[in-house]
Symmetry: C2
Subunit: 211 residues, 2 copies
Amino acid sequence: MGIQERKEREREQRKQDIADAAQKVFREKGFDRATIDDVAQRAELSKGTVYLYFKSKEELQFAVFQRGSHLLIEMFQKAIDRNRPTQEVLLQMASVFIEFSRKHADYFELFMFFQSSNLSKLNIEKETIEDYFYNKSPFKLVFDIVSRGIEDGTLRNDLSVDLLASTLWSQMLGLLIVLHNKKEIFHIFNVDTEEVLKSHFEIILRGALKN
Amino acid sequence: MGIQERKEREREQRKQDIADAAQKVFREKGFDRATIDDVAQRAELSKGTVYLYFKSKEELQFAVFQRGSHLLIEMFQKAIDRNRPTQEVLLQMASVFIEFSRKHADYFELFMFFQSSNLSKLNIEKETIEDYFYNKSPFKLVFDIVSRGIEDGTLRNDLSVDLLASTLWSQMLGLLIVLHNKKEIFHIFNVDTEEVLKSHFEIILRGALKN
DNA sequence: ACTATTTAATGACTGCCAGTCATTTTATAT
DNA sequence: ATATAAAATGACTGGCAGTCATTAAATAGT
């Protein structure tokens, strides 16, 4: 009796279709201006149906965020050349992240949004959020490379892999958030955001490499 | 004819009163749940009057943010002991910032909100925002101490004061944003946010101090 | 093939609220 | 005392997230 399974697949497909529609609408109008009716119309469904698949507008937003996250993972994977020295790979990843924040600013702004909200206060299925962090976060890739870096002696070994990876990732993500769309503001202080990134790497590398 | 001046003062006073009310209401209900009517009622004024003084709910939010920023400046000033070595003063400031993000989480969440929004897209008087960055940002204090640190040889001198100060500030603010309210999430990766802060300083100090 | 039952989809409706604006009240000028 | 200007009011509008009673479609039972 494959009916259960087929229904399961169909349900998943519909969910994807709605997320597709949401993605387009959010990109076109921006999250705040977009309405659930817009999304429903785009997906050729009624508003009520959208709510059968996503419990809130925020959950829909989280679904789009996850797609952005997935894109970042792909970009990382494409960029990582495991034949190159670890330091180079790490810098390459950072560079991909910077590129992501610029070329896919709409996605990156979702990163900013969810970093800045108290996830537990959002009307999103807890399971959905946990599944993301357990299974779908791009951080996992960073962990792999940092792990290799500590093993091959590139990175300092007085901090645990978990800790060093978490720290480097958080610093990078945090910095990108603070710099994003702030060119003009940094110019008030006679600084360009590009330079800040460069000096970040100057400081971090000196601080994180071995010896 | 001091009527002009008196009126000016009264207007400013009323603005403060409304901001006071907003601060209380936002703290009690949270920004999203709070309504302008709540604020008006708290200030014993009508909704329309609130809009005579603030052009949008966001502008009211920005006014409260500025109070938080002012509090942070005061906390910095109280903590800075210019007789102590620069490295110690810098760490002391970082420690105050961490304390601020915890003990005044409602204010800090406004920092997060405005860092994560595109300021130019908010319905806030441009002049208000510029005035803040030019005259009221706590970053200025960081700049002073970093400047001293470069002069007295504590900090590396191959980066300009503006640049090093901007970088250290952005790293710290970004990291606090990423860590805030994320204890549980970091635990998924076997890391505590406290440790991340410690290792941040390990890395930054090694990377930013001279030689 | 027909009927009953379960599952999916619909869209009119509700409640809420940011922001507006014609009207009223209060303060100042003449 | 009256005219004019400035400040305050609150009823009203438009828009939208989320709900739910109703309808339609799919599946199961006989």
